[in-house]
Symmetry: C2
Subunit: 120 residues, 2 copies
DNA sequence: CTTCCTGCAAACATTTTGCAATTGC
DNA sequence: GCAATTGCAAAATGTTTGCAGGAAG
């Protein structure tokens, strides 16, 4: 396992919120190409996941985290993880329904946007 | 109301699935800057909505459509609208819970990805 | 005449690719 | 020595901005 691959993974795992490529580069003095390539490897190994907490900038988080979704403040950008246990039941029912119409759901992406307490 | 603004809106409204800027440009021979600027106006007037059916390419759809979400095939890219009425109840409960912890949810974004019948 | 709209070129941001140099077994 | 990893420059996308010309009222 290459050194930078390990370092990129560590940065993603230790962060308390999803990180972007530029977040990683702020912590690790390597070429951006190297970052992208290591992210690709980590995605293929299912060690990290892509998340879309904001349009146009892909963020990544550890794949070891329990299933959850995000709450992002449109003002300060704060990101909070949110438990959606109740929702997952209805979600699974829905996905089974989709299966019956021939669509095999592999993934869902749920993001909440709004204003946090401080910005409100 | 400018001519191109109206034309962009018509393209978005008549499409049966969310369209990207390049989809619009394939139908309308105007500069890309014009498309982006008209989209911005239409968003401000709440006539259209941004949707993230795929990473890295913003799509738009009419804001007149009833609230719904999308099912996107990762192979052929087919997009289907999906009723999520059951889900919206649990979703609203969740959003009220978030409100109680001081987070005012303004929007949620829910996308499903998988394989359609043909690609399966 | 004045405001709004458009096109063009250039800038920007994110991501990808080709190639040559380097590292590590 | 060979395969995997890296850096650099360049390209490919998607999006934004400044400016000048043209359309519309």
């Amino acid at each position: 396992v290459a050194k930078n691959e390990k370092l990129v993974l560590q940065i993603i795992e230790k962060a308390e919120r999803p990180v972007s490529v530029s977040d990683i580069r702020a912590d690790l003095a390597v070429n951006k190409t190297t970052v992208y390539r290591n992210i690709e490897k980590l995605l293929l190994q299912n060690k990290i996941k892509e998340v879309n907490i904001l349009p146009h900038i892909t963020h990544y988080e550890s794949a070891d985290l329990p299933h959850h979704h995000h709450l992002t403040c449109r003002d300060c950008g704060e990101v909070r993880e949110i438990e959606t246990r109740e929702l997952e039941d209805s979600m699974q029912k829905l996905e089974k329904k989709m299966m019956r119409i021939g669509f095999a759901v592999e993934q869902h992406n749920l993001e909440f946007y709004g204003l946090c307490q401080d910005c409100h």
